[in-house]
Assembly symmetry: C2
Homo-oligomer: 315 residues x 2
């Protein structure tokens, strides 16, 4: 019943780190790595690749940078079937920050960009491929991109060497019919490329939109353990694995790391379904206002947040 082409990518540390500036203990990251290896996950995205000119190491944890030394302390030589990935943001990394593949523990670099950055993103992704890595492009915030601009970006992507392109629901604002339309557009305009999905859970649709992606032949699926991630979080890895029928995936290691590490972490970081995230998602807005509200002393005043967002819309 399973489709062997499907690959699952865990981005627990990379996307979860958006909630705590990547200040995870080594013990936590090691436990996530071990769970991914044991459960048969295909890729683990361990953080962002960026340089210390863009972010201060005093303010951000090591998974904002993904130094080789830091990675080696977690994974040794990574003598496993699990591939390692890092995400690169356009403008926060220099070409020379990418080492030749032979000198790196990373197998894949995913380039995240907004639609106006697509040319830079293609350049960077192809640069990574030239250095020996697998590469993808993750086109963010597509729910706010005008049709003509998206078509042009897809035309550029189609001409590129980049083999994998992701549909990303950055604001958690999409539902199945929108995902279906966009995936079909991507597929028609990117013949021969592999498609992926990265969904957010503001409207409790991250898993369901991932299923729509599966039905529409997307084969790279992003998820995080217990759904940890920015704001409302992501498609939960344990729900996705419960659904996929590939016998190579094991659930017990994931439940173990949830019990021992994610549930304790949930007491410190408040990701997941909360009304402010629902409100920004339903309004197709970046979650930053909701995150700010959730960090304030007004956190529990939902009506005022709703009023505030409605007022904003009037200007």
């Amino acid at each position: 019943m399973y489709r062997k082409e499907i690959k699952v990518l865990d981005c627990t540390v990379r996307d979860g780190g958006l909630m705590n500036k990547w200040m995870f203990s080594d013990e936590f990251v090691k436990a996530v790595y071990k769970a991914c290896v044991e459960s048969g996950i295909d890729y683990m995205e361990i953080g962002y690749k960026s340089n210390t000119k863009s972010f201060s190491p005093k303010e951000y944890g090591k998974w904002r940078f993904c130094d080789e030394k830091a990675m080696a302390e977690i994974v040794g030589k990574n003598d496993t079937n699990l591939k390692l990935s890092a995400m690169a943001d356009i403008g926060r990394i220099e070409p020379d920050d990418i080492l030749p593949k032979s000198e790196s523990l990373l197998d894949m670099i995913r380039v995240a960009c907004y639609v106006n950055q697509i040319d830079k993103a293609i350049w960077l992704a192809e640069h990574c491929m030239d250095k020996g890595y697998e590469a993808t492009i993750n086109l963010m915030a597509v729910s706010t991109v005008m049709e003509r601009d998206l078509n042009e970006a897809l035309e550029d992507l189609n001409k590129s060497k980049v083999p994998v392109v992701y549909l990303v629901d950055s604001y958690g604002s999409m539902y199945c019919e929108q995902v279906e339309l966009l995936v079909n557009k991507y597929r028609e305009r990117l013949p021969g490329k592999t498609l992926g999905v990265h969904m957010h859970n503001n409207m409790q649709l991250a898993f369901s939109n991932t299923i729509t992606g599966i039905i529409q032949n997307c084969n790279m699926l992003d998820a995080t353990i217990l759904g940890i991630g920015r704001g409302a979080g992501n498609c939960p890895l344990e729900v996705l694995l419960s659904f996929l029928k590939n016998p190579k995936f094991k659930l017990r290691p994931i439940y173990k790391v949830i019990q021992e590490h994610l549930i304790p972490l949930q007491k410190e970081i408040d990701w997941g379904y909360h009304i402010p995230y629902l409100i920004t998602g339903a309004m197709n807005q970046h979650p930053r206002s909701a995150m700010k509200w959730m960090d304030s002393e007004n956190k529990e005043d939902l009506v005022s947040f709703f009023n505030y967002m409605m007022d904003q819309r009037d200007f």
Copy 2:
């Protein structure tokens, strides 16, 4: 953009009461009623209609019984556009427990049954209609019913006078393709009847399955405020209203009752997404083992619950 035939039914008190034996304060039930009236909800299901031979009023709160006096204390004469509903379980109510409509605050009685009880359910629902009520039949646990038995039940329903039939995902184990197939089967075999959906959230699919119902022309939609309900809970009313485009629905009153009543209640009752509920849902099992586990001192030992459920399956 909206479909005027769609009716939303709030079952916060009825389904939520499965978690606290309907021991809600009058203040809570009044606040839910007020929110439903102000937000333009079509129906509020205030509890179960059952008799004191089946349940002791010492052990169960008043919304297990829905006496007229108790309802009047909350809604007065209910001089609003909100219709009131109660659910009746086969075998826990006598025909004479149903008063003539003229003597009751209830507008609708929904009869819940398992497939083997379909004949009794049709009798009871038609009996309620004869007494002047709207009536529906909610066929539970359909994810474990054999195809032939379901077809026969639908044949009986088709011959009945009952105008509304619900697809119920009691175990929270369905995803979109299964919902689509079943709704299509119901529609083909029940021409002229209105279809409804009642979904549970074990796999975080309650809202998404409700969307599938909408797309497939189901017009009665169940939801509960903040998703309160048995185990993983239901489709959250606030997400559903954020999605529906009917201008008659207002969100602010729902956020108000969430802030003032549901979030405080969440500190006492642990409904919502929890791994034990995911495990029973993914296994297409009744949530009772998960609820028992969540009530025990082993609550946080997820791996042991997974092992326990796997062992059960081997016998």
